[in-house]
Amino acid sequence: MWIRESTSVFAYPTILSAHAIGMGLAAGFNFALVAHVLGLGRSIPTSELRRFLPVMWWGFWLNAVSGAALLIAYPTKALTNPVFYVKMSLIAFAIRLVVVMDRRILRSSWPDTARPSVKVLAIASLVSWTGAITAGRFLAYTYTRLFASW
């Protein structure tokens, strides 16, 4: 309730902004990693890209926190919308893939980004992040109930 009706006009917009920035950091780093696995900057030792992994986690936690705040502000809006559950599942899958890619690609001493199984991982990551962003955006257009009383 504080977030929705705060005396601070900017509480809700600030959280929305944080959510967009976190998305850019989390999805953005993953897109860069996917592009690398698919051939961009092939001369870069893949394990060195691991230095940028904290940026992804920062983005993820920023969004977990800001997302929880948005959910508390409008619980009915999200929880009555099937798209919300699609988004959560896609993010859970995408994060699982980050952990797997970290182990298989970034932390491996001999990562072979040319292996088909690694490319499949990268494409799955690309699809799940793209899907999560799509589901997130359509949350704003597909809700049926904004408040429990409606």
Partner: protein
């Protein structure tokens, strides 16, 4: 300025086909999705490079990290293309919107900032055998780039709250921020 704004709105309003297309089911949300994927790609390319200038992952030569810049430009292209469609479809929601003015300002500054980097520092940073550490000027440019792009995103998110919007049945059109509870207590 206001003459220019009125002219621009009138110009965009003539693109009735774009307006019709954008208001077809799913199209606006689809374009928003492309806009946000573009934003993420932009971060993935530009922020990666800015962070490298600031010292993250400095075992990778700056020239190698620069290969990710086209990824950022691709993202910017996607965001720009979808963004132009929003403005053409609903020009008065943007052209008279102060958040939009800031968004454009930050984007222009980010572009100029990148221009300064390529004019002053790029050649030295990516030369064969270049130093591991970026110059102080490059780091300053990287901080400016990160801040300006964050400014673009924040003012983009604030657009909704500064749209010309009628606040309830009795109120004259204002900006949506005025509709939020508590605004009057703050004093306009």
């Amino acid at each position: 300025m206001i003459d220019f704004q009125i002219w621009l709105v009138a110009l965009c309003a003539r693109a009735t086909a774009v307006r019709t297309l954008m208001h077809a089911p799913w199209v606006w949300g689809g374009a928003e999705t492309i806009h946000f994927i573009g934003l993420s790609l932009l971060f993935g390319g530009i922020f990666l490079f800015d962070l490298r200038l600031l010292g993250v992952g400095n075992r990778i030569p700056i020239a190698e990290v620069h290969r990710f810049i086209p990824l950022g430009l691709l993202g910017f292209g996607l965001a720009l293309a979808s963004g132009v469609l929003f403005v053409m479809a609903e020009p008065d929601q943007y052209v008279y919107n102060p958040a939009f003015h800031f968004k454009i300002l930050f984007m222009v500054l980010a572009g100029l900032n990148a221009g300064v980097f390529y004019l002053t520092s790029y050649r030295r940073a990516v030369a064969a055998g270049a130093a591991i550490d970026a110059t102080r000027l490059s780091k300053l440019i990287a901080v400016a780039s990160l801040s300006l792009w964050l400014g673009v995103v924040v003012s983009g998110r604030l657009l909704t709250f500064y749209r010309p919007w009628p606040c309830g049945a009795d109120n004259p059109p204002g900006v949506l921020a005025w509709c939020l509870p508590g605004y009057d207590e703050q004093g306009r």
